[in-house]
Amino acid sequence: MLSGLLSLPWFIDLRLPYQLRWEYVFNHKDWFIDGLILALWMSFIALICGSVIGLICAFARSTGNRFLSIVVTCYVELIRNVPLLLLVFIFYFGLPQAFPRGSDERELILTLLPTAERTFTVALSVYAGAYLTEIFSSGIMSVSRRYLDAGRSLGLGRIGLARFVVAPIMFRTVLPSLSNTFISLFKDTGVAFFIGSRDLSFAANKVNTDFFRPIEGWAAAGALYLLTAWGIAICLRFAERRIKWSV
């Protein structure tokens, strides 16, 4: 046992050794695998939706319109200074309760956000949108003046400039940040089990609550999170190198 291998300090009491029993995890592999796929899927959707939000906000800010940029800054600062869990609560518990029972708005919200998974994905998208706005903004800023002048001299309008000059150059500079954001969103799905979304953390918590095996469940989930995050990181680094090459 562990006590034989390690000489433990005095405050560790070995009268109650906890026997690790991994069969609780292996007998319920499907929970973990389904959860992992769901977590990846939720973070991927959140990345896509968040990128759309972020792109719109970043370009809205770059137009120089005072009102638009104040709105965008408020959104970004508000979301970035509030915990994700609170956002999730607002979307999951708050929004449907904000309107009286049976009203049209409430029905609409319940049709749009029918499940915990959907609600969490929406909350995560809004959360990701704020971070991605900052990323895209800095990407837009990094496009050098010379490219803009060159585009203008070719007769491109504002939309054309954004579409054909700023966007392609910006995407190359923000690509590493995008993959980092994807990984951190994937890790952020870890709090989703609290509202009953059946992702990887839900599987871990189920092993905890059903069999009182907190360590095995969470350690298995942690290992899966870790390996997946590293896997994603390696794949994306590889992809970035390929893309840099071909441009």
Binding site: D13, K187, P214
Partner: protein, 216 residues
């Protein structure tokens, strides 16, 4: 608004818990992180390997995994910590891993000439660190440190997941008891925003003060 104000005592209890947790985590995490960061740079092969594994593993997992493993794992092996200290330790372990990277980055950006100069003055390792390298690295660290502090304050809300009575817990409890969800959540947004904003402002101010005192 009155509904929220009527519950101010309970909410204040929760907020105090969050503040206490944050204070412990900020101090413990910073200290551990600084030591680990120095170890990452100057330790021998074994120390470096262990710290690198620690930093990469903790940073690769969601914080919530660390919290659950510490919160349930330590008592399972008979380590008796209070619940508050268990979650504070979990958050500190997480913060220290990020802090170690910040310290490593800042210290390695100090030019090698500073080390050589300090050596030629006869300073040994720890005085050299304390009097020459770290004071110069501190202003560089302030920005990322402030971000980390804001993140850690937001992370104190995860205490609700192991049923600790933090601020989010008290908000959620009162919200679900009375059914006035939105007013409580909006109040929570305001409070979290004010706290996080105060932390980042304070960090920016401190960074400016720091920079004034440094000759580069």
């Amino acid at each position: 608004v009155e509904i929220v104000w009527d519950d101010r005592d309970l909410l204040w209890q929760g907020l105090k818990y969050s503040f206490r947790l944050f204070a412990v985590v900020a101090i413990l995490g910073t200290l551990m992180g600084t030591v680990f960061g120095i170890g990452l740079l100057y330790g021998n092969l074994v120390v470096r390997g262990i710290l690198r594994a620690y930093v990469d593993i903790i940073r690769g997992m969601p914080l919530i995994v660390t919290i659950f493993l510490i919160f349930y794992g330590l008592p399972a092996y008979g380590v008796s910590l209070s619940q508050f200290m268990a979650i504070a330790l979990a958050l500190s372990i997480f913060a220290a891993a990020h802090m170690a990277e910040i310290v490593r980055g800042a210290v390695s950006s100090i030019s090698i000439g500073q080390t050589d100069a300090a050596k030629s003055l006869g300073l040994t390792f720890w005085p050299r660190m304390a009097h020459v390298i770290l004071p110069q690295a501190a202003p560089i660290m302030m920005g990322p440190w402030t971000n980390l502090a804001v993140d850690m304050f937001k992370a104190t809300s995860l205490a609700i997941l192991v049923s600790q009575a933090d601020f989010l817990f008290s908000i959620h409890k009162r919200a679900s008891a009375g059914g006035a969800y939105m007013s409580f959540y909006l109040a929570a947004i305001v409070v979290y925003f004010v706290c996080c904003f105060a932390i980042s402002r304070a960090g920016a101010l401190a960074a400016r003060r720091f920079r004034l005192g440094v000759v580069s």
